[in-house]
Assembly symmetry: C2
Homo-oligomer: 291 residues x 2
């Protein structure tokens, strides 16, 4: 038996095509979705990320602008830039690339973004709404912005035809950008969810109970084949640079002999994040009652 | 072997005594903590709850006022009342008793409360901050208001000398007032947390893995003795009215032969909720930088 490999590149491409159609639809109604990215400082990795986001936005017909602020910017200078974008009617979605340089408080910065334009879903009021919602349908209907990597993970699962309701999902990692929101999304689709982390004891035994595993650990090839229940769906969120190239948090070659579904690295979760960001940008631009 | 029964009444009394000292301390600095309760409609159960809260506040030297609004109040009338209390410098903590009558949107009402005066911690911005915090110490230092029943549960566990870090906690129930916030608090103290609910399959087997069980199910005597790992800590949040009186969600008489610690119903979690509400009221009144 060999796992079905979930093709994130292909699914991301399908998402982008749908987004492109949605953009055309909105443009025909006189609305061009607008995305503003902000990068404080000159971290090369962040520059690559932001450039990619800009590029994809443009390909899909989304209006986009980029604002580069110097590394020594004050909290007030960043706030002023965000306020300017909050008030700019051409901009529906604001993304402030993290991490911020030392000396800036990321939470204060994220709180400055108008929650309706908070495309990353990191504003506490949006995280609070995500926490409060009982059902996935409620999250979608209320148009609550949700962090893009978790959204992408759910899309990979859905696309693969994997039933979530009533399944046991084990999320390894409790970060604010992946672990906690993906746990909430899985629960909102009626999974029983276990969240594990660096202080978890008996991780292998816990993972062995899982129908769905989301690995966001940050350790190369950490999840072993004999930790995985035969037939389980394994989503690998890890991106680790090693001597043998980019690898995930899962021992791909061996786990694929056991799992039912498995995402590769690269080409799994990675491509989904930008695609979902574009989808969320367009969702911010859709006129919505009560938001 | 027989479980240690966790005496919620006694622990709540200790919390109240500490709160009373804190109030005296604040009063000597010229600050009298002020609690405002709002009840819309005339639900008899809610009236009892609110009256109890008022009574305890007064006993502890907290200034309190109650605002009863008629059942037919509009969203705007409720909002106006909350705005008035937001602007009242004598009031540090506002509690709007739930549930609200049909026709009022509880989330809209809760969002109207100034987050700094949100003593129940139900404002989405406070829930979002709770979700974001990595450590319990961060929650406490930032003074983030947290729902009172989960706070009380954590206090019962702490008081009983039960180590949380590295333990497997199973929370049964995913409500916004108990299940989800208590899961976050347990995780912020480094527990591995599983959240179960009505759609969970194999609940007994999952509970059997737990070092700490929090039962918030709403079914009388549902959790059976043979579901419980010997020596586990079992917190019973249930309050079920039956022909044989008030009973919890746990089969107390049998589970106490297996568990290491067990809360009774009544006299376990119940008394803690009001005590923690008083503690949170006082915390709202403490002058705090940046809040």
């Amino acid at each position: 038996m060999s796992a079905q490999i979930i093709d994130g590149k292909k699914i991301a491409q399908e998402v982008r095509e749908q987004v492109s159609r949605d953009v055309m639809n909105l443009v025909s109604r006189g609305i061009t979705p607008g995305l503003a990215t902000i990068l404080v400082g000159d971290d090369p990795g962040s520059q690559v990320y932001v450039r990619n986001k800009q590029k994809v936005a443009q390909e899909l017909g989304i209006y986009s602008e980029h604002h580069a602020l110097p590394a020594g910017s004050t909290q007030q200078e960043v706030t002023n830039k965000i306020e300017e974008l909050n008030n700019n009617p051409k901009i529906h979605a604001i993304l402030c690339q993290l991490p911020l340089p030392d000396g800036l408080d990321p939470w204060k910065v994220l709180e400055t973004i108008n929650p309706r334009k908070d495309v990353d879903g990191f504003h506490p009021v949006n995280l609070g709404k995500l926490l409060s919602c009982k059902k996935r349908s409620e999250i979608d209907e209320l148009g609550i912005p949700v962090p893009c990597t978790p959204l992408g993970i759910m899309e990979l699962i859905r696309h693969s035809g994997i039933e979530v309701s009533g399944k046991h999902a084990v999320v390894v990692g409790r970060s604010n950008i992946v672990g906690k929101p993906v746990a909430l999304l899985l629960m909102s689709e009626n999974a029983t969810v276990t969240i594990c982390h660096s202080r978890t004891k008996g991780l292998a035994d816990i993972i062995r109970e899982a129908d769905i595993v989301v690995a966001a650990i940050g350790k190369p090839r950490y999840v072993q084949a004999d930790w995985v229940k035969p037939g389980a769906c394994v989503i690998d969120v890890g991106i680790n640079r090693t001597d043998s190239g980019l690898v995930g948090d899962v021992d791909f070659e061996n786990v694929k002999k056991v799992a039912g579904w498995l995402t590769p690295v690269p080409g799994g979760v990675g491509p989904m994040t930008i695609a979902m960001l574009m989808k969320s940008t367009v969702a911010r631009a859709v006129p919505r009652r009560g938001l």
